[in-house]
């Protein structure tokens, strides 16, 4: 590139001609845009309403108040709103509310976030004497957004004894936390992922009668039971609602409260002073058992490989599902054409799936199908048509022939298994 400055007489002309429809854009490009707001000599903010906005494509002046025009673009704007959330710091909390999240897959689940929202309700009820929410994270995790989830204090307990299914060691660790900080409430998710088991063990160990299946709490002005809160809990296999004073240990259902979204919190790390107590473990974890993915119910399968109209090589598809260890699903067309059984149909007219990873092979993404996969975390699409709705929904889309891509994927998996075998 040469260093010679080139003049563009046309832009200069437009910059001089303030009646030109592109006048403001050109000024902005040249970096000498008219300021719409400035500080006047008398210390008063002056505004030029004519300088606000830009010319739209139809020659009509448009004013964008979203703040996107000033920023760099969509992503930047999103980041700036995250930054602009007010930071709440509680220096000397009046009490602590301990939350033990499930952290399934090492991340906060939506259930955990609801629970942290519930903890915030309890902690922030009295603005004069605010409490702090303490998250007790047991074992390894991958989460880094505790601050946005509403955590004031973060206690991370790590020890090889706590890994895997070690309920006795975990309860021992939580009892050590109880002795060190004496939180006013213990909140745990009432979920099969571990919270239900751990919470009941903890409550029994602490000698508290917990409320299980809590789905609502409300302030109790009468102050019965001392805590100042009442809760509504499900009982008798979800056929009863039990209203009772809120106990110290609470096992809450999903959607028990709104998750924290408007504030950021300190997530200040805490350290347990004394070492974790040594536990005699009478339960030994021998690790997960390989289950036949075809036998897993489609509605609760974790990893689904789903086939649609675009699949021609059905043998290859079944082989890929077997190699990947995925549960097979299908779109309505594949089922109607007789390639897959009816009980494998995914979508509004079939089964609503909750898979963590959903791989759609040759599925264009009819709205009924997309409804059925609403709650899937990661969607991968393999498709020939780059304009279909499934590609818009997918987190990763590969445009190409599905048979070849699946074959290559199977080859990769096989190769990795080989390497593992050689290493072992």
């Amino acid at each position: 590139m040469s260093e010679i400055k080139r003049r563009d007489p046309r832009t200069e002309w437009i910059a001089r001609n303030r009646l030109h429809p592109q006048h403001l854009e050109v000024l902005a490009e040249l970096g000498q845009g008219v300021a719409s707001e400035w500080m006047g000599s008398a210390g008063i903010v002056r505004r030029n309403p004519h300088a606000v906005g830009f010319m739209g494509p139809n020659g009509i002046k448009r004013i964008d108040r979203s703040g996107v025009q000033q920023g760099a673009g969509g992503g930047g704007a999103a980041k700036s709103t995250a930054q602009s959330k007010p930071l709440v710091e509680i220096e000397a909390p009046a009490f602590l509310v301990a939350v033990v999240p499930d952290l399934s897959g090492g991340r906060l689940s939506s259930h955990d976030r609801d629970l942290l929202g519930l903890a915030r309700q309890l902690a922030d009820a009295d603005p004069e004497r605010r409490g702090a929410v303490m998250a007790v994270v047991v074992g390894a995790h991958k989460e880094d957004s505790y601050a946005d989830a509403g955590v004031d204090r973060l206690l991370h307990l790590e020890s090889p004894e706590l890994d895997g299914y070690a309920p006795e060691a975990r309860v021992g660790a939580l009892v050590a936390v109880e002795e060190a900080w004496e939180p006013r409430h213990w909140l745990l998710p009432d979920s099969k992922l571990g919270g239900a088991d751990l919470g009941r063990r903890l409550a029994v160990r602490l000698g508290e009668r917990p409320a299980t299946g809590v789905w609502q709490i409300e302030a109790d002005a009468r102050g019965e039971g001392g805590s100042g809160w009442r809760c509504t809990a499900r009982g008798a296999a979800n056929t009863l609602d039990i209203q009772r004073p809120l106990p110290r240990v609470v096992l809450a259902l999903a959607e028990c409260a709104e998750p924290v979204s408007e504030t950021r919190h300190a997530a200040q790390p805490l350290v347990l002073a004394q070492p974790l107590p040594a536990q005699l473990s009478r339960i030994e974890d021998l690790g997960p058992v390989a289950v036949d993915p075809a036998g897993v119910a489609l509605a609760e399968a974790e990893f689904i490989l789903s086939a649609g109209n675009g699949v021609r090589d059905w043998d290859g598809f079944h082989r890929a599902a077997k190699m990947l260890g995925a549960t097979e699903g299908a779109s309505r067309v594949a089922v109607d054409d007789g390639f897959m059984p009816r009980d494998r149909q995914v979508g509004a007219t079939g089964i609503w799936v909750t898979a963590r990873v959903y791989v759609a092979v040759g599925i264009s993404g009819a709205i009924q199908h997309l409804q059925g996969i609403q709650s899937c975390d990661k969607v991968v699409a393999i498709n020939m048509d780059s304009g279909c709705d499934m590609i818009k929904r997918a987190d990763l889309a590969v445009i190409g022939d599905s048979a070849q891509v699946l074959e290559a994927l199977v080859a990769l998996v096989e190769q990795e298994r080989e390497e593992k075998r050689h290493a072992a």
Binding site: S191, K192, A196, R200, A203, R205, A237, G325, V379, L396
Partner: protein, 267 residues
């Protein structure tokens, strides 16, 4: 053929059974998880299975309890407890005296509070280990039971627990056998008086039929009108998805492989 040497004494198993509630009609029946627990105990080789129930006997509960007898039992021990009593002390006392090797329960009762605390409370009281969500007992050797525990999403985990232990059975355990009418009629209900302690907390709580939980609304928290409009008008889309166009199948497969690895679904 050599006669088998039976040096191991038979395994003593107690199944705690409760009166269930049919979800539609509300009538008494075998509680689903307890019936699965009985089925689990029936499948154990060389096990002496005892059924134990703590509660009152009335018309509704008698049909339910006889339902368990119809699964191939001659007798059921019934610890008499009035309605609304705390059954824990009586149960703990009985189990302490009988000292079985394995106690099997359901996870949650279908009547009353249904908090699912009983196995934990019993375990704490007796000083035994407890495991929840068991679907199968794979084997028992040298005072150690190998169990299969159900995890969400159809996954299973293998555990070893030292006996005596209390296990609670998950709803994913094998379905119970049908209850046979004749044995159910013929079976005996053996009454045992037990210590009674009333549950005062439970009496003080307000209990009503479960009402439908409110559906969570999709709340759009937008600072500006433009964001609100976009949220209202936009079609649901993932947004920010990576699209690989014009790549070889190998490159595409590698990208998918990486994602599957990161998510940890490949084993």
């Amino acid at each position: 053929m050599r006669p088998e040497i039976r040096d191991t004494p038979s395994l003593e198993v107690t199944v705690l059974v409760s009166v269930g509630r049919h979800p539609l009609t509300g009538r008494g029946r075998r509680a689903d998880q307890d019936a699965r627990g009985v089925e689990l105990a029936r499948g154990l080789p060389e096990a002496e299975v005892q059924l134990l129930h703590a509660g009152t006997l009335n018309e509704g509960s008698e049909t339910a309890l006889r339902g368990y007898l119809g699964m191939g039992f001659d007798a059921l021990t019934l610890l008499e407890q009035p309605e609304g009593a705390d059954i824990l002390p009586a149960l703990a006392e009985t189990l302490d005296e009988a000292s079985p090797q394995l106690v099997i329960t359901g996870e949650c009762a279908e009547r009353g509070e249904g908090s699912g605390l009983l196995p934990y409370l019993l375990a704490e009281r007796l000083g035994w280990p407890t495991v929840s969500g068991v679907v199968a007992v794979e084997g028992i050797a040298a005072g150690v039971a190998t169990l299969l525990q159900a995890l969400p999403r159809g996954q299973r985990r293998r555990l070893e627990v030292r006996l005596p232990a209390i296990v609670s059975v998950d709803g994913a355990a094998p379905a119970p056998r049908q209850s046979a009418y004749g044995p159910a009629r013929r079976g005996q209900l053996a009454f045992v008086p037990g210590a009674v302690s009333l549950d005062d907390d439970w009496a003080g709580w307000q209990v009503q039929r479960a009402r439908k939980r409110p559906k969570r609304l999709k709340i759009v928290k937008a600072a500006s009108a433009r964001d609100r409009f976009k949220a209202a008008a936009a079609k649901a889309e993932g947004g920010g998805g990576q699209v690989l166009e014009d790549v070889t199948p190998e490159q595409g497969a590698a990208a998918i492989f990486k994602l599957l690895k990161d998510e940890g679904v490949l084993r």
